[in-house]
């Protein structure tokens, strides 16, 4: 299958401490790959390297064979790598609707229009409402983002990513902090996107059991390094993973 995202020996160190060390990873087009690993394993840092928030200390990042290592987040998004953040990262004093609408506006390429009223862009508004209802937030459309409950902010975070409609979606612990009943619904949304829209999804999850049946493949990170990469069954059977992650540490850190 075609590789869409590839990292070649990427390393990121903070003051000598390697948060991501020498990771080479390939993600095939239209696959849903989960990245698991205990807290501090370097998962979020790896995402930052893929989406451009951080530049690697060494190594390369490729998108569809093209080097994007030196591109800013703005251009990586335009080229098709969208992401959501583990720590909710929205516009607190704008409404839910406006948060999402800004993402749709970018996707539609309406960048520098200064004189038309934003409500006159019907298509953008419709899309924004559609995405809000996908993540079950339509009733909160006019609420300020900062007044949302934590779980709702998480959903808004996902909505903004979905609204960007990028080829690759990086989801950093999307369900963390959501109410237990909502988690399956959101996972369902993610699955749907993958199946109906031919998207490539990278999903960081802390709890492995949640993603076992959702994922085409699973990557395990540990101490910044790539410990294992393979089909869910292979990962389950992998002895190294069992001892390092699933056995001791998983229970401690969850």
């Amino acid at each position: 299958m075609d590789t869409i995202i590839e990292t070649i020996n990427v390393t990121k160190s903070f003051d000598g401490h390697e948060a991501v060390s020498d990771v080479s990873l390939k993600v095939s087009k239209n696959e849903l790959k989960s990245i698991i690993g205990p807290n501090g394993a370097g998962k979020t840092t790896l995402f930052n390297l893929l989406s451009g928030q951080l530049k690697p200390t060494a190594g390369e990042v490729l998108l569809s064979g093209e080097h994007v290592t030196s591109l800013s987040p703005t251009y990586r998004t335009r080229k098709g790598i969208g992401r959501s953040f583990q720590i909710t990262n929205v516009f607190p004093n704008l409404t839910c609707f406006e948060n999402v609408r800004l993402a749709v506006q970018s996707k539609e390429g309406v960048y520098y229009n200064m004189l038309s009223h934003f409500t006159s862009h019907k298509k953008i508004n419709d899309l924004a409402h559609e995405v809000l209802s996908t993540v079950l937030l339509d009733s909160k459309a006019e609420e300020l983002a900062k007044n949302l409950a934590h779980g709702e902010q998480r959903k808004l975070e996902i909505a903004m990513l979905l609204a960007l409609d990028t080829e690759v979606l990086l989801l950093d612990e999307p369900t963390a902090g959501m109410s237990i009943e909502e988690v399956p619904k959101i996972l369902e949304v993610i699955k749907q996107i993958k199946e109906t829209q031919n998207r490539t999804i990278l999903l960081i999850e802390h709890k492995m059991d949640m993603v076992l049946d959702l994922s085409d493949s699973i990557t395990v990170m540990f101490n910044g390094a790539l410990l294992a990469d393979g089909k869910p069954e292979e990962i389950m059977a992998n002895e190294q993973v069992q001892t390092a992650y699933l056995g001791g540490l998983y229970n401690e850190s969850s």
Binding site: T77, P92, N93, S106, Y111, N113, M114, F118
Partner: protein, 347 residues
Amino acid sequence: MNKSTIALIVLVIGLILLPFIQDSRSILILMTQIFILGVFAMSYNLLLGYTGIISFGHAMFFGIGAYSIGLIMRYYEPTYLYFLFAVVTTLILTAIVSYLVGLLTLRLHSHFFAMFTFAIAGLFLVAAEKWRSLTLGNDGITFKIPDFFKDRVIFYLLSLGLLVLAYLFFRRFTQSPFGKVLQAIRENEKRVESLGYRVFHYKIIANVISGMIAGLAGIFYAVSLRFVNTSVFSTEITLDALMMTIIGGVGTLFGPILGSAIVQFAQYSLMDLAKVHWIFERWVILFGIIYIVVVMFFPSGIVGTVKTWFTRRNKQILGKKKPEGKKSMESSKADAMKNILKGEVDG
């Protein structure tokens, strides 16, 4: 048409009629100044309130406008053609200067941006002082203007026209897709970037638009006095805009206009009171106190605070039918501003 639009239309009609109802020259001049500095404060508010950029050098654009008209009227001829030439010169110069200043400094952390703008405005001030052969330094130059503008009533109406146009422009602009991105930048710059927007471009464009409108206000200011000296480049001019914006309501459309009215009415009345007691001569001190009180107790300014009250009242009446409407949004903009002023936004 909603209530506030109707109220504004009534207000404008009232202001148009004002010179024909009462004939106090000084009130007319005061109102004219309120309009002009209101436009200046609105241009400042585009940066401070809508984009989250703190500039301490906004006077440079005001001064460019004031000196463009002053020098051209004095050294060429006070004709309509040269007047138009001065307006075009101002627009071009302010556009170039604001573009270059933005290019050089907008990538910096907001504190450094504030300091750099302060320094650059200082350079303009020094230049105007040193180039005595042209500007006569702090003594300033007087100049003639086309007869049409000499009529106080006509000039009053023109200034009102400028204010109304600026208001309508900003109302449209801040509700446009572009304006919405600016507000998002104020809220969370990094996130705007990761949505695929080129944040730097937006900041530069905001800076240029703001600078050009400030330049227009500078022209009107100089024409109203038929005199210009180096004080148009001074920090006090920038601080006036800052104070008007914050007292009136940062990040609100009408706030800077109200702020301009309050600050200038107060200055005007305090001048009279100075005869009563010397403390009133020190209006800067008094304003300092008012300013601190506003920032502490009404951080969203007058317009912002009133809007919040109305929202609360409406909520009670409607029985929370519409949760957190658009009105309270304006007031929370001020929260963001407080953070910006404390320098917590870029962190």
